[in-house]
Structure formats: structure tokens, C-alpha cells
Symmetry: C2
Subunit: 426 residues, 2 copies
């Protein structure tokens, strides 16, 4: 039986007040308390697994009936195949160091007057995402570990799965004596509520949209709260004539093929004209074997033999995040042209150079203004766990607060603490 | 003769494009180049001093004719009495360390794969301020030192003073071979242009409003660019019974009287009931001698003798930033009540405790969620130079990117640089 989605009115202002009150409590929690809560949540999800997955199965069935693509259901809606990971991740987050309370930038501006910055939670996070119910738990875990409350708004198709998850999360919090309102879910698919959430700067300190361009633009346009935009990657690699071409081929293959539907996957390959004729056919052969199709501009097209895997690039192709086994190919005359192309077409996510010339590498790294710049390495390293940050809530491509993968520290702010002995300033 | 203000149309989009192009150049400048430019600007202002001050004198005369308060003219419009400092500050900014290029958070996520964060300029700053023409030079100097271009929009009354300053700045840039478009001024008092600037996220990376609540709210409501709000301080000190009362009195006196019209000045004094009767009369005597007037809630009023300097607090008085020699007085029953009052009424700028009890001090610092929290020290230390940061462009009371005094580092972002030897991620 498929229940109708809940119809009660959502009182967002009330949710905001409760979240803020919960955040005050969470900010004072010890690391031990927060870790106990994370483990309690893991147990709660494990115990409630059958019930949660039953709801999720109903929602998948409804999506199937509505004609939703099976691949989408499997990749975006299905919770069952991820449940073990979700629970394991909670235990892993409990193991990570807690950034809250950390002191840095200590100084003594006057004799006996000590000042330092001390990390504190941000307060309340607003996270807006699409489908993928496991995000509900991932976000809640990272928010809890950093002492933040969170108001969640997920995709319509898995509303009831998300609510079942949040019930389990909140139940676990109550069991360990922490505020259940730390995790609140907007239980309505009314889009106007997103607009209202975005204006609740009185209660919410940061908005993290996780979705496509449309969602990011909507948040940027309508929010009075700081928005972390990101997660959209038109990524480039540029091959210089002196590059180790065998190694370059492996890096390109890895960047493109291992996980093409994530934001750090390669979209456009730029090749210097002096090496294009020798190298591009190898790229088409090697990546073609991995089912990659190519969109080549005229000079690149001229370097590869007629091949059904290669087609001429259209006008939008170098401004497209492929999310698929497709790769744009372009020949450039110089490092300058490569940098100019990247500056014009990149989403400032991840861009790299393949070279043996360290002067070129340095220029590339200085002049390409992206969240992550690479020399002789795969763009796939733009990821919290790949860079050793232990976690990732989002990849920021804007420039304030955090850039690139955001982990626990990026969910905190700091305050100045100044301790004197009656110090005055004349 | 007073010239009519310029009437040509302002093409903000064009300014944005030029600022962005200038920012690309500035980002590649060496520290030496930027310091030479700062010194050239100092010379340029010194050489152009007579001309600039003549324009400023005309604008002051016009303000006087329009009936503007003489104190306002002297404090807010007059450039002459500040010109020496403005020039000296430029030379001082040249001496400060350049944060751009600094590497931090270095790690080696795989053998031979090196990753670090590297400081880079933000790009283009949009700074909106009121009167005070010296801000034009201060902001330009800090932007230049950090490799950022800036679009400036100052107060209407000193439009021509500001334009004269910007001409001197841009001339100096051209002389040293740097882009004149690094500093651009919106030469119109049309308020619609502020709205347009706030939506130019394609070109502008950060908005810094320097003015009152109205300006901050307008920016928060209308900007699609991250806004650094701040600079508005309802500041508190709380006196515990065990405090060193002589020292406390000095700290209160300093926080209130030395510079009452700045954002870090004290607005409300909270006193524990056990010490109120002994201490409040001393506060009224001591600060009263410095011409401070008091607004006391009933219990505080009962502690001080009838005195024309003390009047009953009105309903808004504890939500007022006085900017004047006025101080709110309130008696509280406990540390909890003091913290609750501060959480409810503070603008999260600067709040402190005067105590000998380190447990109280720690609770206060942890639970008061302000940009700067103080123990036994004056709130006046919330200032870039007082904390030893060397400079200050603004005091942030929001929580993202930077909190408290913002100096050079806070005008930068970072990129991840990842250097491998053909590393791939499976």
C-alpha cells in the first residue's frame, strides 16, 4: 500500500527556531557525546533497516509505475544497496577528529593579552538535494560531528524514505539525550518552501544546494543566506609536447572513464598542436575501447582517422558537463591558448596539465583559477576522501569560506577569544 | 565654482569586464610590483594633494550650504585632516607581508602525490560605503596588496572627492605598468546601480558593505554575490561578583569612552545582583565624569542614587547601538541570565566578561556566539591593528569565510594544487 504523502502544513519558522535552539545545545556537546550519538544512529538505522527499506521499495515501485528510467531508480532512489555503506560511514565519522574547539592563529598583541581563533560550529545548515536518500544520513552525520543542526530538503520521489531515515536519526538523538530537532526534514514537496528557507537568515547560517545548475542558480538568486555553490565540473586536461605520453594516456583514461557521472570527471582534452597528430589517435584508440565517444573541433578531427566514435564538436560541446562517456577534443597552439580556453569554459572545478616542463606547470597552476589544479595527476582526486580529508559534504567552486572539497573543518567557523588582565586600549 | 556631478551613463557591465581583466593581471603580479604600486600611489596622492583637497573643500562647502551638521562634515566628509595618515597607511601596507602564494595544509595523499592549498586573490571586490573619502584609498590599498581589483561606490556627498582620489590611484597604476582598471569608481549617485552591482556575480566575487543596518539589509536581500555583513556592534560586558572591580571599572571606562562612535564600543553593562549595589554607583561616578549618560532598567536604577545622568531604560534601549556616550545598565541574577541576555540582544560583534572565576570565563567564551569574546579586556581590541593583523577592511559579524576583523588574508581565497607523477585514482 502506498500512503499519500503527508499533507500537514509545514511551519518553517517554527523549524528554524527549533533548529537554532538545538544548535545552541549541540555547540556545547563534547566530542564523546557527539560520537556516542553517531554510533546510536548507526544502531538505529541497522535496527530500523527493514522498515526503512520497505518504504523505499514502495517509493521505487511508484517511480517505476510512473515510468521512471530503471537506471535512475537504481542509481538515485535505491537505498538498499547503499545501506551497509551508510551505516559504516557513520562509524567512520565517529572516528574522525572533531574540529570544534581547535585553537589557531594565537598571538599576544600586548604583554599578557592573549588572543586566538577558536573553531565553533556554524549553527544551522540548510541542505537542499535531489533524490539519493543516503545524502540525508551523510549530511546529518557531518553536521552532528561539527555541532551543527540541519534542516533538510530532499527529492520528492524519496520523501517518505527520507522521513523514515530522519525518524530513525531523531530517535537515536533522543535516546542519547541530545536534541531531536538537530535534524529536521521539510516534509512537503511544495517548492515555495525552498524559497522561504532561503530567506530564513535569522535562523540558518549556510545553504548547501546539492544538485544541478538550476538549483544552484535558484539558490544564488533567492537566498539571503550565504550559499555554497559547486559540484558542477566542466574539467580539462591539457597535454604539452614534452609530456610523458604513456603516463598522460593513463591519467586521461582514469579521469574520464572510472566514474564518468561525477563532477570531477574529465570533459575536455586540450592537446598542443606539436603532439596532436601523434597523441590524439592513441587517445581515441585507448578510451574508445572503454566506450568513450568523442566530440572533436576541426583541427582535432583532422588528427584522427574517420571513426564512428568521433564526431565534430557542436557549438555547445565545450560548455557541457558530459556526465557520460563523452570527451571533447581540441588542438591548441600554446599554453596561453590552453589557459585562455580553460578560463573561458571551465566551471572552476578541476583542471590539469600533463607536462615535464615545470615552468609550464607553474604558470598553469598560477593562471588557471579553479578550485583544484593538477600537474600530472587525475582530476578524480578532487574529493574529500581522495585528498585525505576523511569526508566530504560538497565540492565548492565559489571562492568564499571554502574552495574544493568541503569536509568537517569547512562546516565550522571561528570566534576570536581574547583573555587579558584588565587590558585597555588607548 | 561647484561643478555639476558627471552625468554620463555608467556602464556597470563594462566596468565588471574591465575589473575582471585587471584582476587576472593583478593575480600574477609579484609582491615587489604591488609594493611599488602602493608607493607610487602614495606619491601620487602627495603630489595631487592640493587639487584633491580643493575638490573636497568644495564638497564640504556644498554640504554646509545644504545645512549639514558641522560635526558630520568634520568627521565624515573632511579629507584634509586625514591626508597624512592616508599616505602613511599606504606605505605601511607596502611593508606588510603578502599572503598571496602562501602554501598551507600540505599533504601527500598517495606516495609521490603532493597536494597543498595555495592562497590566491579573490578576484574582484565590490565595496559600498558611506561618506568618509579616505575609505576609497584604504580599500584600494588592501585590494591591491592582495591582488584584487575593486569596484567602489562611496557616499554621494563626496562623489567628486572620491573620483579625484581614484584618478590619482589609477594614474599611479599606469605609471608603474599595472592596470588602471584595478580601481573603478561608480561615478553616479543613482541607487539602482547598487542593485545592479549586487547581481554581477559573473564579475564580482565579494561584496563588502560599510555602513548602517539599512545598507547591510539591502545587500543581503538583493545580492547574488556573497556579502560580508558586519561592523554593527551592540557590545556587552558582564561583571561577576568576584571580579577585580578596580580593573573592571577601567575596562568599562575604556570600552565606552575612548571612541564611542565606533562599532566595538560598549553599549550595555550587565552586573550580577550580588555586586550591583556596590559597583553600579562607582560606574555612574566614574563614567559620568566622562560625560556618559545611562539608561538603567529598574533593578539597576534602584542601585544608583537619583542622578540626572541616569534615566530609566526604554523598551528599545537594549537593542540600540549607541554610537554615543550612552550606556545601558542591567542587573542579572546569574551567568546564565547574562549569557541569555547577550544571545538575545547582541549583534554578535564583541562581548566580554569581567571575572576571576575561570570556569565562568570558559562558559562565557563557549556559549556567547560572537565574533570576539573577551575575558578581563576592553571590547575595543576588536580591530585589525589592535589584534596585530596590520590592517582592517571590515569587521565581519557573519560566520562564513571570516569572522571579526578582516585583514589581508581575509581578502584571499585558496586553490588546491595537486602535483603527481602520473597518479590515477581507482
Amino acid at each position: 500500500m502506498i500512503e499519500a504523502p503527508p499533507r500537514e502544513t509545514v511551519d518553517l519558522q517554527q523549524m528554524g527556531r527549533q533548529a537554532k535552539a538545538a544548535a545552541v545545545e549541540l555547540a556545547q556537546c563534547s566530542t564523546t557525546q557527539k560520537n556516542e550519538a553517531l554510533l546510536a544512529i548507526a544502531e538505529s538505522l541497522d535496527a530500523g533497516r527493514a522498515e526503512i527499506l520497505a518504504v523505499n521499495a514502495e517509493e521505487m515501485a511508484a517511480a517505476r509505475e510512473a515510468g521512471t528510467d530503471e537506471l535512475y531508480i537504481r542509481d538515485r532512489l535505491n537505498l538498499e544497496r547503499r545501506m551497509d555503506n551508510v551505516i559504516a560511514d557513520l562509524r567512520q565519522v565517529a572516528e574522525l577528529p572533531d574540529p570544534v574547539g581547535e585553537r589557531f592563529d594565537a598571538r599576544e598583541p600586548r604583554d599578557g593579552l592573549r588572543a586566538w581563533k577558536q573553531r565553533t560550529p556554524l549553527g544551522v545548515l540548510g541542505v537542499i538535494y535531489e533524490a539519493r536518500p543516503q545524502v540525508t544520513v551523510d549530511v546529518a552525520a557531518l553536521a552532528l560531528k561539527t555541532g551543527n543542526a540541519v534542516i533538510l530538503r530532499g527529492g520528492r520521489e524519496v520523501l517518505r524514505s527520507n522521513m523514515a531515515l530522519v525518524r530513525a536519526l531523531s530517535g537515536a538523538m533522543q535516546r542519547v539525550g541530545l536534541p531531536a530537532a538537530a535534524f529536521q526534514y521539510i516534509a512537503s514537496s511544495d517548492r515555495a518552501l525552498v524559497g522561504e528557507l532561503l530567506r530564513m537568515h535569522r535562523y540558518v547560517d549556510m545553504i548547501i544546494p546539492r544538485g544541478g545548475n538550476g538549483l544552484h542558480n535558484f539558490c544564488r538568486e533567492n537566498s539571503t543566506i550565504p550559499v555554497i555553490t559547486g559540484g558542477i565540473g566542466i574539467c580539462h586536461l591539457y597535454v604539452e609536447p614534452g609530456a610523458d605520453l604513456d603516463s598522460a594516456l593513463q591519467v586521461i583514461h582514469n579521469s574520464k572513464t572510472v566514474s564518468p557521472a561525477v563532477c570531477n570527471a574529465l570533459d575536455t582534452l586540450l592537446v598542443h598542436r606539436d603532439v596532436a597528430r601523434a597523441f590524439l589517435p592513441r587517445v581515441v584508440d585507448c578510451l574508445g575501447d572503454a566506450n568513450v565517444a568523442f566530440r572533436a573541433e576541426p583541427r582535432a578531427l583532422a588528427c584522427v582517422s574517420a571513426d564512428e566514435r568521433v564526431s565534430p564538436a557542436g557549438p555547445e560541446d565545450f560548455d557541457t558537463e558530459w556526465y557520460a562517456l563523452t570527451l571533447g577534443l581540441k588542438v591548441v597552439d600554446s599554453l596561453d591558448e590552453a589557459i585562455a580556453h580553460i578560463r573561458a569554459h571551465s566551471t572552476q572545478h578541476s583542471d590539469g596539465i600533463l607536462t615535464r616542463d615545470m615552468a609550464s606547470a607553474e604558470r598553469f597552476c598560477n593562471e588557471v583559477d579553479s578550485a583544484a589544479v593538477y600537474v600530472n595527476a587525475s582530476t578524480r582526486f578532487t574529493d574529500g576522501s581522495a585528498l585525505g580529508l576523511g569526508a566530504e559534504i560538497a565540492v565548492s567552486t565559489q571562492k568564499l569560506h571554502a574552495r574544493g572539497p568541503m569536509a568537517l573543518t569547512e562546516l565550522t567557523t571561528y570566534k576570536w577569544v581574547v583573555v587579558g588582565e584588565g587590558h585597555v586600549r588607548l
